[in-house]
């Protein structure tokens, strides 16, 4: 397991379930009770049809790298020690996209490469680690 970066998310009533599930190695997304669309990030409504109270469900954890960048240098000091790292936009098989890092080996990294969710406990000396956060990341399928 790679260590996850700092800058802890501040959980709220729409995100607590997500972060709790991540601690148990489950990736949660929402589905609209009105139009049936999946969405990420979590909200109290559907961003497509504005119906209230979307339901939570576990995602398959499988998807593709929609796009990515290898960050070699950053002006943001809290991530400087992580460089180089791969920042990616993952398109889940269910449709929604989310931001994550590519964890582990990057051989074969390209747009549309298949990935699966991995869960990394934030290291203890970062803000996220102190908050007990586990961040979903993605590893390339071999």
């Amino acid at each position: 397991m790679d260590s996850a970066p700092g800058l802890a998310p501040l959980t709220d009533q729409f995100s607590q379930a997500y972060w709790d599930a991540a601690r148990g190695a489950t990736l949660l997304i929402q589905r609209c009770r009105g139009c049936g669309r999946h969405q990420f990030y979590p909200r109290g409504h559907c961003a497509a049809c504005f119906a209230p109270d979307p339901e939570w469900l576990p995602a398959s954890g499988h998807g593709r790298v929609h796009t990515y960048t290898v960050v070699e240098r950053t002006p943001n000091a809290e991530f400087a020690a992580d460089c180089p790292y791969v920042l990616a936009i993952i398109e889940l098989d269910e449709g929604p996209r989310l931001t994550a890092r590519i964890a582990g080996a990057t051989d074969g990294l390209r747009c549309d490469a298949r990935v699966r969710a991995v869960f990394a406990a934030a290291t203890g000396d970062t803000a996220a680690g102190q908050a007990g956060i586990v961040l979903p990341n993605f590893g390339l399928e071999t």
């Binding site: 700092g6 800058l7 998310p9 960048t69 950053t74």
Partner: protein, 392 residues
Amino acid sequence: MPASWSGKVAIVGAYESPRRRAPGVHPFAIQAECARGALADAGLDLGDVDGLAAAASFPAEGAREMAVAEIAEYLGIHPRWMDGTDIGGAAPLSHAGHAVAAIQAGLAEVVLVTYAACGCSWPYGAPDYLTYAHGPGQWELPYGPSTVATYALAARRHMHEFGTTEADLAAIAVQCRANAAANPDARFTSPITVDDVLSSAVIAAPLHRLDCCVVTDSGGAFVLTSARRAASTGARSANTGPVYVLGFGEALGQVSMNQMRTFTATAAAESGARAFATAGMRPAEIDCAQLYDSFTITVLLALEDLGFCGKGEGGKFASAGELGPGGRLPINTDGGGLSSNHPGRRGALAVIEAVRQLRGISPGVRLENPRTALVHGMGGSLSTSSTLILGV
């Protein structure tokens, strides 16, 4: 809409600070310098200004969320109309568009749009995140985005879908540097090659250091008034005449990159279409453009989204030399943000260079009698888009 909108308001004064590094200077002092310069250019006094538009909430801009009020206070004016629309580098273009509407509605007669930042010398550093790690930001910030990384995400997908190359992107930086050669105030003037760009340090792949704009301490301001007042105001010569606002459009995309509708297109498609509709014009009628160039990919996406070439063709358009003075769409004729000046929100300076180009006084490359110019602003992480069409 087009016939009633177009040409009723003009930019009658414009001024870009020659500063590029100003350690020990507060950005508000540069705001005042730019206001003085633009008003002098217009033949107007500060007392004529009854409308003010400004955004200055970035740390290096020296203000907070009440920026327009802070700047009015610093200048010593109490305008009857104000606009503090704060949408990153596109803000000054939206200020101009909103000022056109306000002047036509009788809410103001002389509007000052002013901008300054000490992008490289400001002593109080801050991360370049656009959000906090709560609410929507909690799904992105923990992973370590940076401004250049978010643009790199778009560049990578464009390369994947359309075969765009790093050399295509580099061609944009090379052209802007060539345009800066004659500009005495440009941050960098020595010519560069595609190889120079590709061999400069990778910041966030596929973007290199020379794919990124310069970072300066500077500013600029411009003054708008009704076409009727413009006809009877200020010094009149070929090089100081009014530049009319022919069209305007703005649009919002996203802030979180995981919400971007498509990584190969931006809200420029909408702001551009709106600007062309209000002007009653087509892309083929544009003689030159000042396209926001925070990064080379910003220009490439704008070329396609604004309709100057087809989707996916921007790389070939740039590599074929179409952005040069002899090409189909000369751009960023003062060197742009990539080589001349980018204190934080390039939009104000892009408007100013369009005005200078149409007046025949560009400090960089002077085109032969251009009659129309498009100015495009892009703010945030491909987040916000604002497009102006100007003409003489």
